[in-house]
Subunit: 375 residues, 2 copies
C-alpha cells in the first residue's frame, strides 16, 4: 500500500459550515475537528488509549516544549513523536513561535528569527523558520506549521502590517525548508490582526506558496468573541475552499460552533484539558464547577448524554469528592469527559452539516447549555 497524498475532501456544506475529510500518512481526520493539546508529548492527565477513547483523531504537540525537553533530536532518536507518545495517528505541531513569546525569557525578535532563553533553565536558543521546520521534521509531525509572529492585540494598522509581512517572509522560508513527503503537510498562518485588507493580503501571499492547509492566527488573543467572529466572517473567504482551515488556539464550545458556521475546519485549545484539571466541566447542560458543594450528594452522572468513562461509571458526587481531596483521578476523569464532550460537539456538528441542519443543531446545543446542572 502506498502512502496517500495529504489531501482534504469536502463531504458536505451547509451555509459556510463545512464537513470534510483530511487524509494523511498517519490516518484520516473527519472535520470539523478539535485537536487535543499534547504539550510535551502527552495530553495532560491522559493515557494515549484514553485520548483515543474520546474520539480524538488528531493531537497537537508543542515545538517549544519539545525542543527544550526532551529535544527534537532525542525524539527523532526515539523514533519520532508518534512512537514516543503511543499516538500512531496524525499529529500537528505548532512552530514554537507563540509559546516563545508567551513563556520564554529575554526574547529577541529579528528578521532571521527569535533568540530566547528557556523558561526552565535559562539556556539560550535560536529559532528560525528553517530550524522550526527542521524540528517539526525531526518530531515526524504530520502537519508542520510555519514559523510566524502572532501580532499583539491591540495593534495599529502599521504594526499589524509590519508583523504580517514578517510572517509572510518567514512563511516563504518555512516553505522552502519543508521536506515534502507523501501524506505530510505544512500549513501557512494568516495574520493581519483585525484589518480586513491585511488579512486579504496575508492570505493571498500564503496561497501563492501553495501550503497543504491554512491557519488563521492572531485571534483569541483578547479581542473577544464578537470581534473574532467579525474577522472570521470575511477572512475564511480569502482562503481556498479545497484546503483545510485551522483556527489556532480556539476555544470554548460556543466559539467552535460559531467558527464552524464561518467556515473553519480545525481547532486546538488547552481549554478542555486545563479545565479538567481545575474542576470545570463542559457538559450538554453548560459549564459546572465540580468543587461546588451542590454536587456533594448528586448521584447522577456528570452528563447523562455522554458515554465516556467518567459519565458511565461515576457520579457527580464522586467527582466532587475527588476534587475536594485533590486526588489525581479527579483531573483524569474530568479531562476524559471534557475532551469527549468537545469531540461529541464536533461530531454532532459534522453530522448536522451533512444533513443541512447546522443552524438548528447549534440552536439546540446552545439552548441546552442554559439548562444547568439540575435539568
Amino acid at each position: 500500500m502506498t502512502t496517500p497524498d495529504f489531501s482534504f475532501t469536502l463531504a458536505g456544506q451547509d451555509g459556510q459550515a463545512r464537513a470534510g475529510l483530511i487524509a494523511t500518512a498517519h490516518g484520516k481526520v473527519p472535520t470539523p475537528t478539535f485537536m487535543a493539546v499534547g504539550t510535551a508529548g502527552t495530553v495532560k492527565a491522559m493515557t494515549a488509549d484514553a485520548v483515543r477513547a474520546t474520539g480524538a483523531k488528531i493531537v497537537l504537540g508543542n515545538t517549544y516544549h519539545l525542543m527544550l525537553r526532551p529535544t527534537a533530536e532525542r525524539v527523532a532518536r526515539l523514533g519520532g513523536l508518534h512512537k514516543m507518545m503511543d499516538w500512531p495517528g496524525p499529529i500537528l505541531t505548532d512552530s514554537g513561535g507563540f509559546q516563545i513569546m508567551s513563556l520564554a525569557k529575554l526574547r529577541k525578535l529579528e528578521e532571521k528569527g527569535v533568540t530566547f532563553r528557556s523558561h526552565i533553565d535559562g539556556t539560550p536558543y535560536e529559532l528560525t523558520p528553517e530550524r522550526s521546520t527542521e524540528i517539526q521534521h525531526l518530531l515526524d509531525s504530520t502537519i508542520t506549521m510555519q514559523l510566524d509572529e502572532c501580532t499583539k492585540f491591540p495593534a495599529t494598522h502599521k504594526e499589524a502590517m509590519d508583523s504580517m509581512e514578517l510572517s509572510i517572509r518567514w512563511a516563504k522560508r518555512s516553505r522552502d525548508a519543508f521536506v515534502k513527503r507523501p501524506g505530510y503537510g505544512q500549513f501557512g498562518i494568516m495574520q493581519g490582526n483585525v484589518y480586513e485588507d491585511l488579512r486579504r493580503h496575508s492570505a493571498a501571499a500564503l496561497v501563492d506558496l501553495d501550503f497543504e492547509g491554512y491557519a488563521i492566527g492572531g485571534l483569541a488573543v483578547g479581542e473577544g468573541q464578537a470581534v473574532m467572529f467579525e474577522v472570521l466572517d470575511y477572512c475564511t473567504d480569502f482562503l481556498p475552499a479545497q484546503k483545510p482551515r485551522y483556527l489556532m488556539g480556539v476555544g470554548t464550545p460556543d466559539d467552535l460552533l460559531g467558527a464552524v458556521a464561518r467556515g473553519v475546519d480545525m481547532f486546538d485549545c488547552v481549554m478542555p484539558t486545563r479545565a479538567g484539571r481545575t474542576a470545570r466541566a463542559f457538559t450538554s447542560n453548560g459549564i459546572f464547577n465540580m468543587r461546588n458543594a451542590r454536587f456533594q450528594d448528586d448521584s447522577r452522572p456528570l452528563d447523562e448524554n455522554c458515554t465516556c468513562l467518567c459519565c458511565t461509571r461515576h457520579t457527580r458526587a464522586y467527582l466532587h469528592h475527588l476534587f475536594r481531596c485533590e486526588e489525581m483521578l479527579g483531573p483524569m476523569l474530568l479531562t476524559i469527559h471534557n475532551l469527549t464532550y468537545y469531540q461529541n460537539v464536533m461530531q454532532g456538528a459534522r453530522a448536522a452539516i451533512l444533513n443541512k441542519e447546522y443552524d438548528a443543531y447549534c440552536a439546540d446545543v446552545r439552548g441546552n447549555w442554559q439548562r444547568g446542572p439540575d435539568a
Copy 2:
C-alpha cells in the same frame, strides 16, 4: 444464585508458604495477594479499569480518610464504596486507628476509643470499636478490620502487653458490633510487638472470637526486616491454618516474598503507588529511579518481562521525560507498572507454591534484582 459464605480454601503449600483462595460476596481472591491501597476511594493516579488491568483482585480503603471525606453516611447514600469507586470486587477497609495515630491532631486514647481532630479542618471526631465497625458497614466493606491500637516501636514488655490487651478488648467490642452477612468477613488484628508470649496470647484471644481472618499488626513500624521476619517465624503458627493471614502495611517485594515464606497470605502497602508518583520503579531487574539521566536516551521498555501498558507502549526515555517535565502521565504510567509488578510477583509466588518450588522462585526473583537497569 445465593451469595457464597466468606471462606478461605488452601490450594497448596510449600514449606510454610501457602496458596489459597478467599471467596467473598464480591468475588474470589487467589492468595498470596497484594491489595492496592485506595486511600480515599481511589487508588491514586489510577482509574478502576487500570487497577483491574494490573491483575488486582482486591483493594483497600482507608476508614480514616473516608469518614472525613466524603463521610461514611454519604458513601452509603451513594450505594457503597464498590459502586462509588467503580470497583465491584472485594474491598478490605482498615479500622481507622492506624491513621488517626499517624495523621490526626490532638489524639486522645481512652478505653472507650479515640477522640481526635481532623488533619484537614480540625473537626473533632470520636472513633470507638463500635463506630469503626459501623463505618465499615456503611462503606459496604467486604472485609472489615477490628479497631486496634498499633503498639509503638520500640515498646517495653509492659507497654506492649497493656496495648495488646486494649486491642483484645476492642476486638471483642468490634466483633459484637459486626453485622454478619453472607460473603462478608471481619478480621481480628494480632498485636504484641516483638514479644513471643504476647503474640501468642493475642492470637489465642482473637481465635476465641472466631474472626473470618487474622491480621498481623504492629510490624513494619521501624523494627527492620530481620526483626519482622523473626516475629513472623513464630507468630503465623499461632494462627489457624484454615483462615487467611494478613500482614498489614507491608512492604517491599522482598518483604512480601519473605513473609509469604513464613505463611502470610495477604498484604497491603502504599509503596508501589507512592513510589510510582515519585519516579521509583519496581522491576524484575531491581528498583530504578526514573529521574536518573541514564534513562534519557534509553529506548528499552521499563521492564521487558512486563506486559503492562507502560512497558508495552513506552520507553524508559519517555518515562524519564515525563517525570522531568512533571507530567501527570509519569505517575500514572509508573503506578500502573509498579502495581502490575507487585501482582506479577504474587502470581508467580502462587504458581511456585503450587509447584512446590517456592524457594527456587524466590532465589530467581531476588537474583534478577541484582542485575540492574543495564541487564
